[in-house]
Symmetry: C2
């Protein structure tokens, strides 16, 4: 068949105002998943996108879960031999408060001029309605010009991402066969900057737990017992104060087992990005980076594991004084993991780290709340290669292969429950105010994102 | 004049049942200073002891304060040339709950048989009504046999000791002239054991403060910032985890300035006591002593300073997980001080200790809530020498010179506001259940304590 891409891109250019209006329409629905009062709005937002999918040749349905419903849709594309893509997104949004900090009402989308041209300001503008709209617009253009996408497409749009996707794993497990695909495509990440597209190829995982240390069988008077009885708070600081050595290297036994060094190519590419860590830290009132000495800023945040105390408590924490030697002390500890680390071994290392520093007359319990591995998408997979070609063609410069310091839980769920790798191609910018007042999405990103997805479909179809 | 002591001791022996009944009478008054409902009972307990003092030749009055009243009484003794002693005690008691753990009602004193003979079980039995009764009985016997004590005596009995003596300092300052004396005598401490009398000659002081450390200007997401931004909780544990080195030596700069080594005589005397630290720690579920390596247990608790974290908090302390890098962290820190340490220098050392470990982009505030010096009564003072002779004669063995790991705030107030040293001669036992259900006082201690005080008056009069 004739390559229809030029016509599809032209169609996207011609229909950009309508694309903007479709986004605005969806953004008017206050689909706040966290607030029970908005349950009907969540359902409306799901119906809205189901109807949208049906209007461009998909069979689509709104499917119940224990919480907010999931929208599932299918398009057979050119037939059973075509590559099969699963597009994941979410129609739910974060609560909008504090409302008084918005320059326009969060669910009355405003198009305002910014340094990059017009932008839409509304809750959900980029996270994730705007980013879903890009691939929906790409499907619409393929449908209008070529009768449908050049690949088989399954769409999965959930309504609980902003509350931790409590119903998603069960839904994936129960609908494993229906959700079969070759790869998942997710647009919920960012670009390097508005001129530089990016593909996120690694995500850090996490081990999150709590350490409970006990010494004396009861709280003691520090005058009577000070100098003889173990102070469990001093002990806890001695244990946790040793998590890093003076070079920032984490001292948990076996912690770095399986951690891969950056390839030279990767290091060169990230160095070339010229990330301004001073400005990054300056924004939050800091100036001295932490992490392992001698490693680059992006390497430390994307490709190296961490050990952060997220909470600590024990003894007397009220006003003024109480001369107590406490009986127990507690801390929340999380380690961000990189691909190659085995979460179970990290948990084992944490237990050993604590036990090795624990006097024989004290006890420590390590509770583990969650473990997720770091995830890596091989940069040479056919999916990443296709995305690089598509983005390079759209932007006239190579896409950056980025890491992500946090985790995107759905990526892990898709891998674990459906066996799917994820291709993370996102078009958000750092200043999009995700989860904050005046969340916005650049219309230029919306448009070039839609063009990029149209190109990606063509590249993958080959 | 003929030495009347033998007759006085004989009188005390003959009137022991009446002495017991007077204690029981006073104990029936529930003078709980902490509970407003018992304010009238506090006033009754004050009146009771005022009447008692008037009945044995004192001029006595109940004096108002902002809180519960103070009883002040005077006896001219043999005249203006005689030594002048200020006896301090308190008529208020701790609350009695949990009531269900008492074997008899806390304000219906029960005389029950124990391994040392009969004891009185009641709230306040030893702390401090029983210990006051001893010297009141000694005054009574001197009054009955010799017409009055052989020294000038001022009595000061407050009613707010158990709530931190909030009105005492103002009362001392306002009545400085009236409360003039040569030395203060206080019975609110213990014996070594029921056969071994003790004089407490050193009390630890204290610096109590709070450390507030701040890093980032706001709470951060540990995925986005982990590996770049300072975690203030890790930082706080790194700072405080270094308070002691592996030998238990405290690392605060200048901390040990002015700390005196035990004299050999003191070390030998304390070693001879054969303190069973294993049993002491075993009672609270511990087996491994802390404090400075190579020093004796009593030395560590009585004659060496400490640094204890009394509370710590920061970040997320609720159930489950929150992936936060906190902006601030807090700890309560107290140091028990020994005589010779300058509290102001210790505060300065703590500030320096924190500042030396603080990255340049973080801030720390050290709030100081209280500072009291360690207090030492010279063992060779005429008062201590007189007490040793008196106790040695009564018990047939030398009195132990003990330290006290805590502080007795009134001792510091008497020194600071009236310039008085304190002679601490107490007759409590370790198992007296002070502040706990079934508080008791051995009648043998009551009796030998009264005889000891009678002897002490004679020894001081010379």
């Amino acid at each position: 068949m004739t390559q229809p891409l030029p016509a599809i891109l032209a169609h996207l250019d011609e229909t950009a105002p309508a694309a903007r209006d479709r986004l605005i329409d969806w953004l008017r629905i206050p689909s706040i998943s966290a607030q029970p009062a908005h349950a009907a709005d969540c359902r409306r937002a799901a119906d809205w996108v189901r109807a949208e999918l049906e209007s461009i040749g998909f069979t689509a349905s709104v499917r119940p879960t224990a919480g907010h419903p999931v929208v599932v849709a299918h398009h057979p594309g050119p037939g059973a031999d075509a590559p099969h893509l699963l597009f994941y997104g979410h129609y739910d949004v974060q609560p909008a408060d504090p409302l008084e900090l918005w320059t326009s009402p969060p669910f009355e989308p405003a198009v305002v001029e910014g340094p990059h041209g017009p932008r839409v300001v509304a809750r959900g503008a980029v996270d994730d309605k705007g980013q879903c709209r890009m691939w929906l617009d790409a499907f619409r253009a393929w449908h209008a010009v070529a009768g449908g996408p050049p690949c088989r497409v399954t769409v999965l749009i959930e309504g609980e991402e902003e509350i931790g996707s409590p119903s998603l794993d069960a839904f994936l497990a129960a609908n494993k066969d229906e959700l079969k695909a070759d790869v998942a495509v997710i647009s919920d990440t960012g670009m390097w900057d508005i001129d530089t597209p990016a593909i996120t190829t690694s995500l850090r995982g996490m081990v999150y737990g709590q350490i409970d240390v006990r010494a004396a069988s009861r709280d003691l008077h520090s005058g009577m017992y000070g100098g003889s009885a173990r102070n469990v708070l001093n002990l806890l600081t001695q244990i946790l104060g040793g998590l890093q050595d003076e070079t920032g290297r984490i001292q948990i036994p076996g912690f770095y087992d399986g951690v891969k060094e950056l390839t030279n190519a990767q290091r060169v590419e990230w160095d070339r990005l010229g990330f301004d860590e001073a400005a990054y830290l300056g924004d939050i009132g800091l100036s001295i980076p932490v992490g392992e000495r001698g490693r680059g800023a992006l390497e430390r945040m994307w490709a190296r594991p961490t050990a952060d105390i997220n909470g600590i408590w024990g003894g007397y924490t009220g006003d003024g004084s109480k001369t107590v030697i406490a009986a127990e002390a507690h801390a929340k500890l999380s380690c961000r993991l990189v691909p190659g680390q085995d979460p179970a071994k990290v948990v084992e290392g944490i237990r050993r780290f604590v036990a090795d520093r624990l006097p024989a007359d004290c006890t420590a319990e390590v509770q583990v709340f969650s473990t997720t591995p770091g995830i890596e998408v091989p940069a040479d997979s056919r999916w990443v290669q296709a995305a690089r070609r598509a983005l390079g063609a759209e932007y006239g410069r190579p896409a950056v292969l980025m890491g992500c310091g946090g985790s995107i839980p759905v990526v892990e769920s898709l891998k674990r429950l459906l066996g799917l790798d994820s291709l993370l191609v996102g078009f958000g910018l750092n200043d999009d105010q995700v989860h904050s007042p005046n969340e916005k999405f650049e219309l230029r990103c919306l448009h070039q994102g839609a063009r990029s997805h149209a190109r990606l479909l063509a590249e993958i179809a080959g």
